[in-house]
Symmetry: C2
DNA sequence: CTTAGTGCAAACCGTTTGCAAATGC
DNA sequence: GCATTTGCAAACGGTTTGCACTAAG
């Protein structure tokens, strides 16, 4: 299963006349072993743990390549940092983002996707990708808020 | 009509125990006279034209206040810069963003809005705002691309 | 007269770049 | 051998902050 992603990567390198290096192979391998969303720093420290000689710059540059060949998907969250997730043959989804605790909830809605197609067709716009994020307070944080409120009232 | 926005602003200042200053009044006034999307730099130079003594920092800080009281809406575009638009009693819309020329096409879709409500309700998520952006190539740039392609072929 | 706001410069932070040395092809 | 990649350090660009000074309430 992960073989396939490695193949995609190597074919992309060949197609673009980029070189296959031990660093790039390592970074891909580490990336494929992550779950969910990782920042470039996260990835860097994971890579560093396996080979301390690898530089930050190389991680960045490799992430860019991973994006280009569709292996990584980049999403920006509420604090302005970018997070990456494995995107190869992963079902597309968008995000609810809790601005309090940073929680990420994935959602997918067939109808919204279809409506988007309609919209782009209407404007003769050739869509490449989209970013649909809903910011707010997650269920847990709402509960915590209510509990805090209660405590405040009873202590008066 | 713009009176109303000024009132909203002054009431927000009072409510938050912030002070009304000539700079803040000026920045709001300049902002209300812009059309469409402006960057903080744009706004800064417009403000500067009316009072060269105003600093960048103050424009930033005031934009933050304008966001807080719902007068300005901040959207991030493809190059990572933030653009601001007058959001007071303006009908909500989202954006198609041309990654080639930077063109912004506004769209609004009632059904998508409704589906979003359904989704947040399902996750008991309290939505504050959303950002729905579709990136791709606008009709004009597609035309230009095709024309360039044609020229390339015929010159062979 | 007390508190908040201003403008400046410096700090910040994630990202990008210039470059000499190292590596892949 | 030639071109690309690497790691480092320095640059970048938009934003934020510390601070002495100024102005609002």
């Amino acid at each position: 299963m992960e073989r396939e992603e490695i193949k995609v990567f190597h074919e992309h390198l060949k197609r673009e006349r980029l070189k296959r290096t031990t660093q790039r192979d390592l970074i891909l391998d580490v990336f494929l072993n992550t779950e969910g969303h990782v920042s470039s720093e996260d990835l860097y420290s994971l890579v560093k743990a396996r080979d301390p000689s690898v530089g930050f710059t190389t991680v960045y540059r490799t992430l860019k390549i991973l994006k280009e060949c569709g292996l990584a998907r980049e999403t920006e969250f509420h604090d302005g940092r970018m997070l990456y997730e494995n995107d190869y043959k992963h079902t597309h989804h968008d995000h609810l983002i809790c601005t309090q605790c940073g929680a990420l909830i994935e959602f997918y809605n067939e109808q919204i996707e279809r409506l988007q197609d309609e919209i782009t067709r209407h404007y003769r716009f050739k869509p490449a990708h989209h970013s649909h994020r809903i910011f707010g307070i997650c269920a847990d944080c709402q509960k915590a808020e209510k509990a805090a409120e209660k405590a405040r009232v009873s202590s008066r």
